[in-house]
């Protein structure tokens, strides 16, 4: 099962490597990892996408909690949540393809944020499967470059992960 684990951790040098090191040392997999400071500059928010059965996920959350720099851990995929990922795609866009790509981007609610005579950069946010679907609809030889942020997520409603 795919899980999204959110952490609050001390914004200290080395905190990221403690988390990453834990995953590699214990053989857990990381599909994606994002991290940035929060409104409180001493605290970072990290989102990890991982896979594992119930016992593995339980161990992951326990082991993360055990790290001294980690303040809070929440498996947000356990609850009603919103997941978003940002993607930037650079595509070859010439002749009649320019229209087709623009139409496709519109369907997926992407925005073209850079235009040259031969290329577009499309910005798109959404849950990861939507981004996957968009890429699947682009012809392979159109794609020059894909940059994805990895998913981030937040709980719906008033409940939140905070200090």
């Amino acid at each position: 099962m795919r899980h999204i684990i959110s952490l609050l951790l001390e914004n200290e040098s080395g905190a990221l490597s403690r988390v990453a090191g834990l995953f590699s040392a214990r053989g857990y997999n990381i599909e994606a990892l994002t991290v940035a400071p929060t409104e409180d500059p001493t605290v970072s928010r990290m989102t990890i996408v991982t896979r594992g059965d119930e016992r593995v996920i339980e161990q992951i959350t326990k082991q993360l909690n055990k790290l001294i720099d980690v303040i809070k851990v929440l498996d947000i995929s356990e609850a009603d949540h919103i997941e978003r990922e940002l993607m930037l795609v650079k595509v070859r866009a010439k002749d009649q393809e320019r229209e087709e790509i623009k139409r496709l981007a519109d369907i997926f609610r992407g925005r073209i944020i850079d235009v040259t005579a031969s290329s577009y950069v499309i910005e798109m946010t959404g849950a990861s499967p939507k981004l996957d679907a968009f890429l699947a609809n682009l012809a392979k030889d159109w794609i020059i470059e894909v940059v994805r942020s990895g998913p981030t997520g937040i709980l719906r409603g008033e409940r939140g992960l905070h200090l």
Binding site: S13, G14, G21, Q59, N65, V70, I71
Partner: protein
């Protein structure tokens, strides 16, 4: 009071009440060594290799319950510590390790004796710090002691760049009395509702079993464990790390469990219907084949570390908390219930256990003309009246001590259980002896292990630590040889110890006393003579039967009740 960084380090250790610091000087810590000069409060013990410093501090910590403190320089000084830090980490031993680092402006430039100490040690410490601001030095040291000694204890490293300890820059010194970390709040008391559920399950047990581990010793819960076990009248077994928490000579104690556990302990584990696990972590050396571990048991698990619970074995009633308050509360609730364990079921269970015990699985050939290692350990137990602090290295000798030295007190059995570090025993014994100069301290070792930190014989002379070394010399890496005999058709690949030194002369060369013992009848007199030499380190080199194996043995992949017993013992025949 204005102090330099180096003076802050030393003053902080004084304020922390540190008695000994085990270390080795070098470029990056010279300012700190200068600040140590001429003061007597913190006694510095100069080791011969940094690994020895970590094991000494570890031995000191395990015997006293106080944190062990280590000081080493950057680069090779720090990397030499790694084995000892990992040893302490695996056995949850509280260490505070201070390392020098190259000056902050040159960090990352591959400077002389530079290494990424924080990076190298990260996976084997509870936490570590790099101090980049001298104003945070005192507070960081306080945090290190706090983290090392609370919750599940462990080693904490503080890496201090040389410029931070510059004697010319003085700043106001303040050592905080307490520290608070918002991200670290270890659980102390267990959840009362979970404890009540545990009490109910315990009272319904027909074939109960208590399985206690090192956490009981670390958590100072030996008294509570004894009281609870006696009140319940239940059988109890212990892990390697937990020996001594419950008296080894008591009738309710079934001996150690696991790979080299007793027949009765492993059989009782396999057949029990309620298992109370306290401060133990269901290590693979205990469980054997996981699928068949305690197949009939409902399991209660008390542990201070939530990640130890349901890691290897799924448990029914988890209780997160320190062993001491949880066991005390459990006993209160049991007594308050007005009930007692079911007497009839319990007595039938004990009858079954006594039948297993009657097999006497630790019996060995007492008529042999060769010295049997088990005999040496038994005699050691008698000569020291079961009261010595015993350290060991790793291998067969370690298992024989665990089986034949009946520890009646906690903190007396000091060995590397988790990491299995050869070379641990001698320096650990020195650390223990410094803490308890009046007590008998013995290092039981083998001719392979002892050579891994033999240089510390020199430290032992300098600091007058007259320990006794019992070398069970079988000219093999015995445990390796045993596995090769059992699973590699006796192909003894590189497990023979050729070109051994003359240990008697070696001991003498280091300024100690050496004794060579080759006959069984000389074992007892030699031990008595050695222990009568109160102010001498005596190295007793026992030439033992080289083919002796450790039994029982649960071989890899086997379930706990499928023990390999010695050829002269047959449960099928004897228990029929």
């Amino acid at each position: 009071m204005d102090l330099s960084g180096a003076e802050i380090v030393v003053q902080a250790l004084k304020d922390e009440g540190v008695e000994f610091i085990f270390g080795y000087p070098g470029g990056a810590v010279l300012h700190i060594y200068d600040a140590l000069f001429g003061q007597e409060e913190v006694k510095h013990v100069l080791v011969r290799h940094e690994q020895g410093a970590t094991h000494m501090a570890d031995g000191y910590a395990r015997a006293t319950g106080k944190p062990g403190v280590v000081l080493a320089t950057s680069g090779p000084g720090a990397t030499n510590l790694v084995t000892g830090i990992a040893t302490a980490y695996m056995d949850s031993s509280p260490l505070v390790v201070l390392t020098g680092q190259v000056p902050t402006p040159v960090i990352g430039s591959d400077a002389f004796q530079e290494c990424d100490t924080v990076g190298i040690t990260r996976p084997c410490v509870k936490h570590n710090f790099l101090v980049k601001d001298r104003h945070k030095l005192a507070e960081t040291i306080k945090k290190a002691f706090y983290i090392a000694t609370t919750g599940r204890p462990g080693p904490v490293l503080v890496d201090i760049p040389k410029d931070i300890t510059d004697p010319k820059v003085k700043i106001p010194y303040h050592y905080p009395k307490t520290v608070h970390l918002r991200s670290y709040n270890p659980t102390v008391k267990g959840n009362p509702r979970q404890i009540r559920k545990a009490a109910e399950l315990i009272l319904e047990a027909k074939r109960p079993m208590i399985y206690s581990g090192g956490g009981v010793i670390l958590g100072e819960a030996s008294e509570e464990l004894r009281e609870l076990t006696r009140w319940l009248g239940f059988p109890i077994t212990s892990t390697l790390m937990g020996l001594g928490a419950y008296p080894g000579t008591d009738r309710q104690f079934l001996g150690m469990l696991g790979m080299h556990g007793t027949y009765e302990a492993n059989m009782a584990m396999h057949e029990c219907d309620v298992l109370l696990a306290v401060g133990a972590r269901f290590d693979d050396r205990v469980t054997g084949k996981l699928d068949e571990f305690c197949p009939y048991a409902k399991i209660i698990h008390i542990d201070v570390d939530p990640s130890s619970i349901s890691k290897n074995v799924l448990v029914d009633i988890p209780i997160v908390g320190q062993a001491k308050p949880v066991l005390a509360e459990l006993l209160v609730q049991l007594k308050a219930s007005g009930r007692r364990p079911e007497a009839e079921a319990l007595s039938a269970w004990w009858e079954q256990i006594e039948r297993w015990r009657a097999l006497d699985c630790l019996r060995y050939d007492r008529e042999s003309s060769l010295i049997k290692p088990q005999y040496v350990v038994e005699q050691l137990w008698q000569v020291t009246r079961g009261k010595a602090y015993v350290t060991s290295d790793v291998g067969q000798h370690q298992m024989w001590v665990a089986q034949y030295y009946k520890f009646d007190y906690p903190r007396r059995w000091i060995n590397s259980g988790g990491l299995g570090t050869m070379g641990f025993g001698l320096p650990a014994a020195i650390g223990v002896k410094l803490a308890f100069p009046e007590e008998d301290v013995v290092c039981v070792t083998g001719e392979a292990s002892i050579q891994m930190c033999i240089q510390e014989l020199s430290t032992a002379l300098q600091y007058k630590t007259p320990i006794k070394i019992v070398n069970l010399n079988n000219r093999y890496m015995g445990m390796v040889r045993q596995w090769q005999e059992f699973t590699y058709e006796s192909r003894y690949s590189h497990s023979y110890m050729d070109a051994l030194p003359d240990f008697v002369k070696l001991a003498e060369a280091y300024g100690h006393v050496g004794m060579l013992i080759e006959k069984p009848q000389d074992v007892r007199p030699a031990l008595e003579e050695a222990f009568s030499m109160k102010d001498k380190l005596v190295f007793l080199d026992f030439i033992t039967d080289r083919t002796e194996n450790v039994y029982p043995m649960v071989e890899a992949g086997k379930a706990q009740h499928q023990m390999r017993l010695p050829p002269w013992i047959s449960p099928e025949r004897e228990l029929a």
